[in-house]
Symmetry: C2
Subunit: 366 residues, 2 copies
């Protein structure tokens, strides 16, 4: 369905689970909000101005200031299905792709991406440019240094809106200054089970980190997955922000590991939870994505603790991506009905658990 050239393996690097604490921290993302001098902020731009901004980026694709192999995907040029795939890969936002139910996305909305690198940039989102890097595990420094390199490259060609007092200027004042947002997708089942999670999240608030569910702002958490990110972007250096963020998330990881040991020592209840989740995933014939998230949470915990010998964490990451609706449609080669999708999801997961290598076949097909 998707033109393989268009989407390919974009956004899949974090799945490898080769980063630090990748069993608990699925991924770290650092994004920088940037705007171009001489253009109005996105909310004030018209179609022409948005196209001119996008053209400016397009001219850089083959320049030496950016890493080679850059690809600029205009949202207008992609079918809805491909835009859904990009959304499910967390490479683009709902704002960028517009409604994916057939309505066209806004003029000039585009994604600049590299098949071989975990960096990308949304063009004409809330800011003219949203650079981001998405890596495995708790790797805020790595993600920051990669996105910083992209920022330097783009900034050397495109004059960025910068104020000597405020720093980078952004469409929404909460992003001004560094324009930096670091976030980590963390899995905290033991803190949820021991009911310590409320206290931990409150503690994070005081340290300047917000939390939300995996589906984005305001969403409820499912499967004990939480997105943690920094609130402050102003008044501190990027290095400070990244260091503070990494240290704070690391303390959460420590608390989660301690809670797991407490639970493991308290009897077979957690083992039971793990094996039940495994048993259901291994045998279910119908799976909602939400259902899947909850069950993958149990299996992930089991693998992390060594209660389950397989699958690898990387396979579990893959399931989270490839068992999503558009990815299932992609593998089936057609748009599935809601019930078909629940069937296909269960079938895909069963195959992946039977043969952990199998979970990666779908992305080979893309």
């Amino acid at each position: 369905m998707t033109d393989p050239e268009a989407v390919g393996g974009l956004g899949l690097r974090w799945l490898e689970a080769d980063g630090p604490d990748a069993d608990i921290v699925l991924s770290t993302r650092v994004r920088l909000a940037r705007n171009l001098q001489g253009h109005r902020f996105a909310s004030r731009t018209d179609m022409d101005e948005r196209r001119r901004i996008c053209d400016g980026v397009a001219r850089l694709v083959d320049s030496s200031s950016l890493p080679g192999g850059a690809r600029l995907l205009a949202m207008e040029g992609l079918e809805a299905h491909s835009r859904r795939i990009l959304l499910e890969r967390r490479l683009v936002s709902h704002d960028l792709v517009g409604r994916v139910d057939g309505a066209e996305p806004a003029a000039g909305a585009a994604l600049l991406a590299w098949p071989d690198a975990p960096v990308s940039a949304m063009v004409n989102e809330e800011d003219h440019l949203r650079l981001q890097c998405l890596v495995s595990g708790l790797s805020a420094v790595d993600a920051w240094s990669l996105v910083d390199r992209l920022d330097v490259g783009l900034g050397s060609e495109l004059p960025l809106a910068f104020h000597h007092d405020f720093g980078y200027l952004t469409s929404c004042p909460t992003n001004a200054g560094t324009g930096l947002r670091a976030s980590a997708l963390v899995h905290l089942p033991a803190l949820v089970l021991t009911k310590e999670i409320g206290r931990v999240l409150e503690g994070l608030d005081r340290l300047g980190l917000t939390h939300r569910g995996v589906e984005g702002e305001g969403s409820r958490f499912t499967g004990n997955f939480f997105q943690l990110s920094n609130q402050t972007t102003l008044g501190r250096s990027e290095e400070d922000l990244i260091e503070h963020f990494g240290r704070t998330v690391d303390s959460v990881v420590e608390k989660e590991r301690e809670a797991r040991q407490v639970l493991l020592n308290a009897g077979p209840r957690m083992e039971d939870l793990i094996w039940r989740a495994y048993g259901l995933l291994r045998h279910a014939r119908l799976l909602d994505y939400r259902d899947l998230s909850e069950l993958l949470s149990g299996v992930r915990l089991g693998v992390s603790l060594g209660v389950l010998k397989a699958p690898a964490i990387g396979s579990l990451n893959r399931m989270m991506v490839f068992a999503q609706a558009a990815h299932l449609d992609e593998a089936a080669g057609r748009a599935l009905s809601a019930e078909e999708r629940r069937c296909h999801r269960a079938e895909y997961v069963r195959a992946a658990l039977r043969d952990p290598g199998e979970a990666s076949t779908s992305d080979a097909a893309l």
Copy 2:
């Protein structure tokens, strides 16, 4: 723990699942309430009279009027654990064994049973004698003819209280006449899923059959298992009662089979339910008995429909008996704590599902 000589394989014949419709009708039981001439009804007897009644039965054990190999187990002579085993085999009632938490059962309370036959008789329960036959599947005629033979044998030696107008006299008038109660333990998951069960049970009421859960009078049903039995014991011949009972239960079995086909044709929801139950039983580390009943219900449905190739219905019957508390204690050789029991139950079920033959090893040990 139990003296193997005392309990042995008593009450296990129905597990073989060799009776008609044994996938849906787990067992049929026919019991006859009988009282001895010249003795007061049980509620009026004192210790001495109860002992005399029991002695009268004891004298018959080696007589030629009863089948050979009869064994009379005095409840007073059994430890609480053995009485629990008999309860779990459905050979004795709570009334007969007294409290099993250590308090002694009543004087003269006994079980007359045969290791090689599915018949038995409680002595000094609500009536002086409660003869019963417990067989696999929907086999009311067979069960009746076996228990009738025992009745003829006992009646030829012991003068039974009989009135030419009322028939057999019983402690509670609702049992007078034939003293016959036929009951079938049936598994009706599809009628429950399609919500037809209420209508079906109401229909049974009008046909003179009552229903209750598996734990006896007033109990809620678990695992979609229902006990159906006749209400009327008076004014019709035993053959009439048995014929009517068998025909009525058979109509319920038909309705259940129809509902299963409707569900199977309505999409993968039932297959999902079956496989989820299987997955949980196959992998859980802790199981309540109630939990087990619900899950065995799904697996039984799956085996009956051919969705699951294994285990055999007989293995599922075995699990219902051998995963009960006293049977687990017996297999462990000691009294387990509540949590240990949940562990042992899950372990036993996993082994039984891995190797369906294994479910029978525990009774070999008895």
